[in-house]
Symmetry: C2
Subunit: 197 residues, 2 copies
């Protein structure tokens, strides 16, 4: 951009790297920030600084936290003995929003993938096996995506855990979903797992 | 969000205020930032800090600048005597991208609007009239939006400037545009302004 200040160009280039923003929307966002300097730009810079300085990974489960141990692992109100294995922190958040699971989590940080050469030691799988021993875990809930890689990872983990109950989330019709819009695979899964009412 | 660190929640709430991002995409962006702390989060915080400290409005034209006078107003290569009046800094940037106009700009900061009670003194119109006198301006190009408010503003400014050439951008078929997709108003305008070839 000719003649626009270097600081602005730099900020636009960085903002454009955020998921969901491209060069055009980054420009729009930066102009908005400049106009709302006191109410948005300065607080946002401070909040990022704050997150950059304080937020790290929980050494136990991989969740993001401001201490070495995250709020969930540290909480005494969370049931021990149950671990819900998720791919990413965003999945952990999604589980927490449903407000149903009262145990603890383990964030793998991805899925096994032959294509991308991701093996068990690239994920937090060894740490999961340690935790299962040390925390007297009796049930492992695999809340992994219903993708090929997600299911491969689920099978791999289940194979490592003889003698422990390993479950996975049910597959079926989403609540509020219309059959007409569902893919064949989901309908097949829902039909196979049909229940008496 | 239960159990996610306060610093993260604060950052998500601020990010969600950016145009183009909602609560869901703000969450996604923040997770991305946390994962790319060294490459994105820290540089972004610094760039925002930098912009917050250095960027201000050009006292002459209203463009954003790091000095009291913006690069365009300060440049000796820009023609004096021609002022292009735009609504917003983003419009100035759009004009600059076309790389055609070699004069100087004046950013109004909005358009006159009876509905939103925006009068001439709420915009940078008095300053424009001052500049036209002091800079010996001979042509004012009104590059305002083809909206009701934009056109009202254009007429208001033209009325204030007897004896000066006031022009506005041509209306017509956009380059690369197909007639089939154009609205009636644009086709009417393009037909009225037809030229011999």
């Amino acid at each position: 951009m000719t003649d626009s200040p270097q600081a602005i160009d730099d900020l636009i280039a960085l903002m454009a790297k955020l998921p969901g923003l491209g060069p055009r929307s980054a420009r729009r966002a930066v102009l908005h920030l400049v106009k709302k300097r006191a109410h948005l730009l300065i607080p946002l810079a401070d909040a990022m600084q704050q997150v950059g300085e304080t937020v790290r990974e929980c050494v136990n489960c991989g969740n993001i936290a401001t201490d070495d141990i995250c709020g969930i692992c540290a909480s005494e109100r969370r049931a021990i003995g149950e671990i819900c294995v998720v791919e990413d922190v965003s999945d952990l958040w999604a589980m927490e929003r449903s407000n149903q699971f009262k145990g603890r989590y383990h964030v793998l940080g991805g899925t096994l993938s032959a294509l991308d050469a991701v093996g068990p030691e690239d994920l937090r799988i060894p740490r999961l096996l340690d935790r299962i021993k040390s925390e007297n875990v009796t049930e492992v809930i695999l809340a992994l995506g219903a993708t090929i890689d997600g299911q491969t990872t689920a099978h791999y983990i289940a194979d490592q855990l003889p003698g422990i109950t390993v479950t996975s989330l049910a597959q079926g019709v989403p609540v509020g979903g219309e059959l007409d819009y569902l893919d064949d695979g989901t309908i097949t899964a829902a039909l196979k797992a049909r229940r008496a009412i």
